[in-house]
């Protein structure tokens, strides 16, 4: 799935469902329908957040600080 700030939640969901069906089969996809919807909404919201090319680098908290040690 491409990262696109203009991608609607509906389109994100459709792509997630397609991936889920290919990976886990149609029955599991059906069983996790609502989880897919919620995650699609989150992904669409994240993609739509304004971030410039030079804005923040990813936070790696935990990893940088030896978080699992």
């Amino acid at each position: 799935m491409k990262l696109d700030s203009h991608l609607s939640e509906k389109k994100v969901l459709a792509q997630l469902r397609r991936q889920a069906a290919e990976t886990f089969g149609p029955m599991r996809t059906f069983e996790m329908a609502e989880a897919l919807e919620i995650t699609a909404a989150a992904l669409a919201r994240i993609a739509a957040a304004p971030l410039d090319l030079t804005d923040d680098a990813p936070d790696t908290s935990g990893v940088d600080a030896g978080g699992t040690a």
Partner: protein
């Protein structure tokens, strides 16, 4: 005279140090209490009675020799995703039933070195995620104790143990503590090593502490972190707090009314409390938490889940599978936004002493869910310390919590702030779990208060056989004044609709006990602490 099970950790240490209390007597009393209450509450996954008694005898011998640690003789419950040498770490996962730890987790070792006694392992939801544990809420057995630190909160609330370890990835310390009417403290991210703790999502996992007073969580925090928190640091300096309106708007009416009353009481005590907004859109914040958590949970569990799919809880398995579908570019964008959000929060919290908000959007719902994570997950994402104080009861006699949040790294300052607020607000009496005639409680002499105690409302629809959600007689174990149950809100039984609104962005309902019939309308959030509407049609 206070019953031994009523002693706080701070009081236990004082008495042991003064040679007024034997650790063996204390452990024996707690084991007897657990034996009586456990069939109803189911807080314990493994009880190490013999080991605890042996350890208590060692503590008594050390006390005789004048060797007293900061937690000397304090019995502790450990969440069952944290290793204790010689005990199983099952994590609610059947294939782990014979998985015994050969050494203590770092935090357990620190507590033991400070003189604590490990009483046993308390139940967790499976791998600290969202599929409910067997544990009941001591205030009402029909209600959830919350999760994932379900056994930690229930055991402390039921006074089976004065102190327990929990963990939080979304809301798993603050929420169960609030639902069970205890203090719950999630310090800053990375405040201590998580060696020996089964991960759920590496960059979000926090070890936390549950107890009945701020003093007790500070005592344990200092023992683990090697610090010396001064709880009186702000005794003469009333705090400046921001009451976060986004959370009031998403809270159920009784919770909102309670928090407004709490704000008024803090103002009356001298605090400056002004309403304000978050520096970041809350729904974006929750979306970032969700995506990062889901991807990390998938990375932790994907392989094992593929080998044991039927041993995984329904919600956790969904989280793992959906998490595997998240594209890398989205995950990295979420991580960029996380940094931006954390910076904005640092700046905002640099101008005040803390945020004030409800601990959870609701009082404890029924046991088909572990509750709503919306009010806790933001602080897990940005690693700020957060603490819940038990500050009232709703009209059903269920605890309501007040949450305080401070800037990252300001754990001691938050504890001092919480101590100030606890002094101003008082606390709630514990749930009444005593059988009518069997307990020779000296407190019963306190006639006037004792007679006021049985406030239990027989008209509530839940039947809680072993306990009544009542205010107990004034128990003189706290310096703070008792808090009367909150005035009855307009809607005594939290309806499903407001919860669904609260959780609209991310929540789903779940019926873990129901047959696994595909039903897109029934459910499947997959959060360590799902934001979940309560379903009235619980079986």
């Amino acid at each position: 005279m206070t019953a031994l099970y009523d002693l706080t950790a701070t009081e236990i240490v004082r008495r042991v140090r003064a040679r007024e209390l034997s650790a063996v007597d204390l452990v024996t009393a707690l084991l007897e209490r657990i034996a009586r209450l456990e069939p109803e509450i189911e807080a314990w996954a493994t009880l190490g009675a013999d080991e605890a008694l042996a350890e208590a005898a060692e503590r008594d011998r050390a006390a005789e020799a004048g060797q007293i640690g900061p937690l000397h003789g304090v019995p502790i419950g450990v969440k069952d995703i944290i290793d204790v040498a010689g005990m199983p770490t099952v994590a609610g996962f059947a294939p782990y039933r014979d998985r015994r730890a050969d050494q203590d987790a770092h935090v357990v070792a620190r507590l033991r070195a400070a003189g604590a006694i490990i009483l046993g392992k308390v139940h967790t939801t499976q791998f600290a995620h969202a599929d409910p544990a067997p544990t009941k809420n001591p205030w009402n057995a029909a209600r959830t104790p919350g999760g994932s630190s379900a056994g930690s909160a229930a055991a402390v609330a039921a006074r089976m143990v004065p102190l327990a370890l929990g963990t939080q990835t979304a809301g798993s310390v603050v929420r169960p503590a609030a639902y069970c009417g205890t203090v719950g403290f999630k310090p800053s991210y990375n405040w201590t090593s998580r060696q020996g703790v089964i991960p759920l999502a590496w960059s979000l996992d926090h070890v936390g502490l549950l107890a009945r007073t701020v003093e007790d969580v500070a005592l344990a925090y200092d023992a683990i972190a090697g610090t010396q928190t001064d709880l009186a640091a702000r005794r003469d300096t009333p705090p400046r707090l921001v009451l976060l309106t986004e959370f009031l708007e998403r809270a159920e009416p009784d919770v909102r009314d309670h928090l407004l009353d709490v704000a008024d009481r803090l103002r009356a005590a001298g605090a400056t409390v002004e309403e304000g907004a978050l520096p970041v859109d809350l729904d974006l914040w929750l979306a970032v938490h969700r995506v990062i958590m889901q991807a990390e949970v998938a990375a932790v569990h994907a392989e094992q889940c593929a080998r044991h799919p039927d041993d995984y809880g329904k919600l956790l398995r969904q989280e793992i599978e959906v998490g595997q579908l998240i594209p890398a570019a989205y995950l990295l964008t979420a991580a960029r936004l996380r940094r931006r959000i954390a910076r904005a929060v640092d700046t905002a919290l640099g101008e005040v002493d803390g945020y004030l908000l409800p601990s959870v959007s609701n009082a404890a719902p029924r046991r088909n869910t572990t509750g709503d994570r919306t009010f806790q997950a933001p602080w897990s994402l940005v690693g700020t310390p957060a603490i819940t104080l038990p500050t009232g009861l709703n009209s059903d006699g269920l605890p309501l919590g007040t949450q305080l949040v401070a800037r990252r790294g300001q754990d001691a300052a938050l504890l001092a702030l919480a101590a100030w607020c606890a002094q101003a607000l008082g606390t709630i009496a514990p749930p009444d779990l005593e059988p009518p005639a069997e307990e020779p409680e000296p407190e019963a002499v306190e006639q006037p208060a004792a007679e006021e105690a049985p406030v239990a409302d027989a008209s509530t629809e839940e039947s809680a056989p072993a306990e009544e959600p009542a205010a107990e007689p004034a128990a003189p174990r706290e310096a703070a004044p008792e808090v009367e149950p909150e005035p009855a809100p307009a809607d005594p039984e939290p309806a499903a609709a407001p919860e669904e609104e609260t959780a609209a962005a991310e929540a789903t309902a779940t019926e873990p006990a129901a047959p696994d019939v595909p039903d897109p309308g029934a459910a499947n959030d997959a959060d360590e602490a799902e934001e979940t509407p309560e379903r009235p049609a619980e079986s």
